[in-house]
């Protein structure tokens, strides 16, 4: 994949900084059959996410949503909401950013993973100027029809430790590190 295919859409500092190569270091990603469920202490993300208006606007652009509440700061300021809103699925950007490439939870970057469905609770809207950090814990792991599912509970807090949202992030993953290696070689590493 040529990075230039992606760079044509870059608009924010985070987009220029983020490591877009999900193959790099993938042999070291957490893997389905090695996740430790014994400890239920919250695991922090690799980095925090300072919310800028450009981040919210770039998410809306990515999902082709031109609602001015998501894209026009002046319009949003004069609306009953009084400020720019984030598209409800904006947390996707926060989670990928905060987990990064080397920390716990990096299985969400696994080449060949598939998304069966997701869960999200929103307690307060994300606001420009907040700095969000994650607290994650392994939530569930199961096998169904030959597919290997893994879920993490991902809590999102602002700089005052106010819980803003909770996601249960789930993917169907290659079962083992050997299966990931197959995908890295361009071979199918799933059993179903």
């Amino acid at each position: 994949m040529s990075r230039s295919n992606l760079e044509q859409f870059f608009e924010t500092g985070k987009q220029r900084e983020f490591d877009t190569d999900f193959f790099k270091g993938a042999e070291e990603y957490e893997v389905w059959d090695e996740i430790d469920f014994d400890s239920q202490e919250e695991i922090p993300g690799e980095q925090t996410f300072e919310i800028k208006a450009e981040d919210m606007k770039s998410y809306a652009a990515g999902c082709l949503d031109d609602n001015p509440l998501f894209t026009d700061e002046e319009y949003a300021r004069n609306s009953p909401y009084g400020q720019l809103l984030a598209h409800p699925i904006f947390h996707t950007q926060i989670i990928f950013w905060c987990i990064g490439s080397k920390g716990r939870g990096n299985w969400i970057r696994t080449p060949g993973s598939r998304n069966p469905g997701q869960y999200l609770e929103i307690y307060e809207p994300f606001r420009v100027g907040e700095t969000i950090h994650l607290g994650m814990r392994p939530y569930d792991r199961w096998i169904k029809r030959g597919k290997y599912y893994l879920s993490y509970e991902i809590n999102m807090y602002n700089q005052d430790n106010v819980k803003k949202a909770k996601a249960i992030g789930t993917l169907i993953l290659p079962k083992s590190r050997d299966d990931i290696r197959k995908f890295l070689q361009g071979l199918r590493g799933l059993e179903d």
Partner: protein, 145 residues
């Protein structure tokens, strides 16, 4: 646009639908907006052999399909200063480039709790140009009294 209130809503009310025809550029653009650069969405050469979904084509992000479905809810509810508090999703079919996705919704439940906590459940769905179901979502939305 008419302001919606909890009292004005009825089970069975339909939400205005939206449609998008997705291309490889759409997947790249969503990857940039979400930071999800999984090659199953972004790398046509790799997918031609790796085929995580059993087809030699890249497919849309489930989170993008979800976002499209949720946009149906926000387009409808946010002009009335409503708040989305909970959303679930399930993705049923891969969405390759060239798909025209139509997303729609319907009010399926009214929950009468107490003032300020009443909410409706909206069932959202995404279908392709052949009417095949691609994904479903449920959103809980609190409306002003």
């Amino acid at each position: 646009m008419e302001k919606l209130t909890f009292d004005s809503l009825q089970v069975g009310d339909a939400l205005p639908s939206i449609s998008h025809t997705v291309k490889q550029e759409t997947f790249w653009k969503y990857a940039v907006g979400s930071f999800d650069y999984n090659p199953v969405h972004c790398d046509p050469d790799w997918v031609s052999t790796a085929q995580p979904f059993g087809i030699p084509q890249t497919v849309a992000h489930g989170m993008m399909t979800w976002s499209f479905m949720v946009t149906v809810a926000t387009n409808w509810a946010y002009p009335s200063t409503a708040t989305i508090t909970k959303i679930t999703s399930k993705f049923l079919r891969p969405v390759p480039a060239g798909t025209t996705m139509t997303c729609s919704g319907i009010v399926s439940e009214k929950h009468v709790i107490r003032p300020g906590k009443h909410f409706v459940v909206v069932e959202l769905k995404a279908e392709n140009q052949d009417g095949d179901l691609l994904g479903v979502s449920q959103a809980e939305i609190v409306f002003p009294e």
